[in-house]
Subunit: 280 residues, 2 copies
Amino acid sequence: MDRIRRNERLAAMTRILVESPNKILTLGTFCEMFGAAKSTLSEDIDILRGVFAQFHLGQLDTVTGAAGGVRYRPVPSAEDAHLWVKELAQMLSTPDRLLPGGFIYMADILAMPEQVERMGAVIAAQYYRAEPDFVLTMETKGIPIAMMTAKMLGVPMVIVRRDSKVYEGPAVNINYLSGSGGRVETMSLSRRAVKEGQRALIIDDFMRAGGTARGMVDMMREFSVTVVGVCVLAATQEPVRKRIDGVKSLLVIEGADENSSTISIRPSAWLTSAAEKSKA
Amino acid sequence: MDRIRRNERLAAMTRILVESPNKILTLGTFCEMFGAAKSTLSEDIDILRGVFAQFHLGQLDTVTGAAGGVRYRPVPSAEDAHLWVKELAQMLSTPDRLLPGGFIYMADILAMPEQVERMGAVIAAQYYRAEPDFVLTMETKGIPIAMMTAKMLGVPMVIVRRDSKVYEGPAVNINYLSGSGGRVETMSLSRRAVKEGQRALIIDDFMRAGGTARGMVDMMREFSVTVVGVCVLAATQEPVRKRIDGVKSLLVIEGADENSSTISIRPSAWLTSAAEKSKA
């Protein structure tokens, strides 16, 4: 094999690191791949760390110890995170998104890969320290966001179903209160989907009263799983008191009025204040 | 701003290109970002193209013309595609995946980001030339694969629902024959989800008789949308004649037998023969 230049190594390493967010890749892997010494690769990584920081492309960490190596996390800057979520708020605020009953049409944006990948990066950045083992969501609309968040966290996603399916095997079913009105519905999770003692991050697209998320928390209790966080793309301002505490949302829906054809959505306060603090 | 070295430019460009598969990024964008001349950037891209090819990291194309620029496609080599799908077949063949009724538990693998991203890359590679405007799937299990395929194709995903939802607005409902037994079920798609004259790629996780895919094709006809392809992760060998023609699958399920606790799954012939041809 021809000797590989630093130029080329840096490009290839970037491609490989970016593909596996939050996974620790050993220097040994790269030594073998490029036929280069560890000291050379350490220099490479120092260069990459600087480039990623300069162009706001995420965070590269060197992890020491026996299982050590290098780890990429696509953490956006506080300004970028705020800007992306603000753009999202604007996209969602156009009057033609207003549906009968004051609902807002979001299905298209929830399925645009580049938008959803950004949401995943913003959410994941809040939970790296909590070290979830998997991301839990309830079918259907939350799946893309949950998937991209799971990707950024380097963990699998688990989907709670509305009813048990033959192709998922024995399942645990629980009842929960859905919607502000409090209808009783059922959710189902395959027994083999998660293991006792694991840590779950709960993700959903939308929250009004929080009944569905509450149901997922209850479901995790049935499996003896610890919930490390609950995060949704958009939560309504009312009711202020949700059926569950400690929920994070990227967007706050202040109101949607059919009569005046107006939708009012803004980034959550924690995103705005982080961006302001970082500017100051 | 300090002068940015080629090293650093190549790493940053890689990160940016890989994040936006199948999107044409103009050289102008990069000129501005790095304060470099177009000729310099053209050289950069030549280097990147070589690196990507050497390490099987995908394909970098220069697109000429008014809307020209550079475009990244994560096309795996025929060998890699075959190897990945073979690994998948092995993962799915363990006897503990066998469920009552001869069903195979696949939910976990369908929600592992790194696996699903590979499936998306293998599928997308088959349809770049067909230029779909969106990827269509039916809830629930196919959503992650459809999402990652959409990402690799640089297009949005659209989800067909089992019934119409208030938060998706006016919808078109159709009936279709589900399962080999031929139960009549309903599927629903929001009227604003797709536009007349667009091109759809239909993706699903599993196909036995093909009734669901047939339903999606019929649904597209209602919207005057052209179907450019139908691709599933796994199709059963029987029935050989599906309710729809021209279906591609990555895996073929030859059989799953409860009595002998055996599952037989293999990569589809087109993947195997492409890998053999490329080796020869």
